[in-house]
Amino acid sequence: MRVVIAEDLFLLRDGLVRLLQAYGHEVVAAVDSGPAALEALLGERPDVAILDVRLPPTFSDEGLQAALAARREIPGLPVLILSQHVEQLYARELLADEHGGVGYQLKERVIDADDFMDSLTRVANGGTALDPAVVAKLLGRPRRADPLDALTERERQVLALMAEGISNTAIAARLFLSEGAISKYTTTIFAKLNLHPDDDTNRRVRAVLTYLGAVTSHDDA
């Protein structure tokens, strides 16, 4: 895949480049600031981009803003955001445009290289890869008029794993169930969350969005 990297710490940037090359990907740009990141995203149109949230010159959330701006220009441009801390707020903002192709992970997840590459591939294919830490926070959050009230405990577990972005096969392995059981669960979840199959949206992403409460209502006309 063609990858853009935006990370201001040289050690991490260098490490990421090596890691990606070791896995046979091509790093088309490795930049260290917000404006440069946006330029690279729009100029290179990579298959996937890896951005640090906090970048120079302001050291605020420039990486996140660059990603959001690039996705406004190129809807669905796959981005994987890395950060030293995970916030629900950022996750919601990333998922709000409903195009999928979004990842949001703690920096140290890079240490588990195989997992990290999995996430990257999922994001590049338009899926989601949310850090379990974000998902855990989301689990502890009650909402009014919660569409999730309709779900059973087991369905919720499945949905939580879906939110992390893993495939049915992997979910089945984690919950010690058969893959057939999982696909049954996903079907009931989609039905309960009122997500009808249509061509142009990824239903898994939509389910996750509902899960996040980022989608309040949408018409299925």
Binding site: S60, D61, E87, Q88, P142, R144
Partner: protein, 433 residues
């Protein structure tokens, strides 16, 4: 209502009488001295045949003499009576109006003997101790700034509170006199008017007391200085405690783990040829250690300066906070710009503490956080529909900590929490955005 009227008239009469008594001294002395002085000065007659210039000179002299007597008499009266009368008025103000008008008098300053053999009374030197003590007492009586301020109260109250509160009394006397002299109808009307005015007359006390009976400017400044000294001491202490906490967190946590990791790596390095399996186990351990070290560092950083606050500022940081609380939280924000960083951090931690309290104690189902800016004040309000009944002095609620934190910026924390809720905690800090 009707049954309470006699009671109110009685209370009004009693209060008016008391206030008239407490404020009558200076006006009575002034009238007596002025009138008597004028009569006496009037005896210096230049005679009707004197030239006009002489008559004018005598008139001016008479006036000046009366004014001087008046000033002297009032000054002495003030020195002898202002302080006890003002103190008595303050006690009434706190009992009737709930005004807190505590003031500080300096009292006689201590007398110390200098190496030169002279005695120092705080203002000047004296040859004998007795003389120095006498002068210190005199200074305390005549030159205490608070006593001067009390004198101002005596003058102002003498021309405002005294005439108004004396009205019902004068009316009663005049009415009774009229009745005795056979003018019954007019007498009764005057009596009724006096009784009607009685509950209202003493109300003039409040505005005058608020303005003139409180501590003087110097005392207020002194108190503010003490307050600031307390805040400063608090700050220094909390800062030291914070640094200690951070140091301990790094020393016992991340640092120790890094050392352990280095040791594991070294062990793995040695074993990698002889026993690659065991080396792999050790390396996996080291990786787990690095994760744990990161966790610890992350929570430490959160406690020092939450990353969201750095990246996004107060409003979004509070929004992120609200998302992490296990209660339904609504955030309304109308803040035009980011406040100063230290202030921002204080308000953020205050809101975090308040939300944590709600989650722990309130059993609330819905919480609202309002961030507003207006009249050069930044206000953060946390309202919940929980059980209420929090007192600001509740131990372990962290409210004292919040109060200290915002007091450092001249801010305040107010809590209204009736039993049964709703609870509303308001943090307001003056600032310019």
């Amino acid at each position: 209502m009707l049954t309470r009227i006699p009671g109110r008239i009685g209370a009004g009469l009693y209060r008016s009488l008391t206030l008239a008594a407490l404020t009558c001294v200076l006006p009575l002395v002034a009238v007596a001295v002025g009138w008597g002085g004028a009569l006496f000065a009037g005896t210096w007659s230049p005679g009707p045949g004197a030239p006009l210039i002489g008559r004018i000179a005598v008139g001016v002299g008479q006036t000046v003499a009366v004014l001087l007597w008046l000033a002297g008499a009032l000054w002495m009266t003030h020195a002898l009576t202002s302080r006890p009368l003002a103190q008595a008025a303050r006690r009434r103000a706190s009992r009737w109006l709930g005004l807190d008008l505590a003031v500080d008098y300096r009292g006689p300053s201590p007398v110390t003997r200098m190496a030169t053999g002279f005695w120092w009374d705080g203002v000047e030197y004296h040859k004998s101790e007795r003389e120095a003590r006498r002068r210190a007492r005199m200074n305390a009586r005549f030159h205490d700034p608070q006593v001067k301020w009390d004198g101002l109260w005596a003058v102002v109250a003498g021309v405002t509170v005294f005439p108004v509160t004396a009205l019902p009394l004068a009316g009663l006397v005049a009415g009774l006199g009229s009745v005795l002299y056979g003018r019954t109808v007019i007498g009764i009307l005057i009596l009724l008017a006096a009784l009607a005015v009685a509950p209202l007359a003493w109300l003039i006390f409040q505005p005058v007391a608020e303005r003139f009976l409180g501590p003087n400017a110097g005392t207020r400044l002194g108190r503010r200085v003490r307050e600031l000294e307390t805040i400063q001491a608090d700050l220094t202490e909390t800062q030291a405690a914070e640094l200690e906490r951070i140091e301990r967190g790094l020393h016992d946590g991340a640092q120790a783990r890094l050392v352990a990791m280095g040791m594991s790596m070294q062990a793995a390095e040695r074993m990698v040829d002889a026993d690659p399996e065991a080396a792999k186990v050790i390396l996996a351990d080291a990786r787990a250690s690095s994760k744990a070290a990161l966790e610890e560092l992350r929570s430490l950083v959160r406690g020092i300066n939450p990353p969201v606050l750095v990246e996004r500022g107060l409003v979004d940081a509070v929004r992120a906070l609200a998302l992490d609380v296990p209660v339904e939280v609504e955030v309304h924000a109308a803040v035009p710009a980011r406040p100063e960083r230290p202030l921002e951090s204080a308000i953020y931690f205050a809101v975090a503490e308040l939300l944590a309290n709600v989650a722990k104690h309130a059993h609330a189902s819905h919480v609202t956080v309002d961030l507003e800016y207006g009249e050069e004040t930044l206000v953060a309000r946390v309202t919940d529909d929980g059980v209420g009944g929090i007192s600001p002095a509740s131990p372990g609620s962290g409210l004292a900590g919040i109060r200290r934190r915002v007091a450092a910026f001249g801010g305040r924390l107010e809590i209204r929490s009736p039993e049964g809720g709703p609870t509303r905690a308001t943090v307001s800090v003056p600032c310019v955005l």
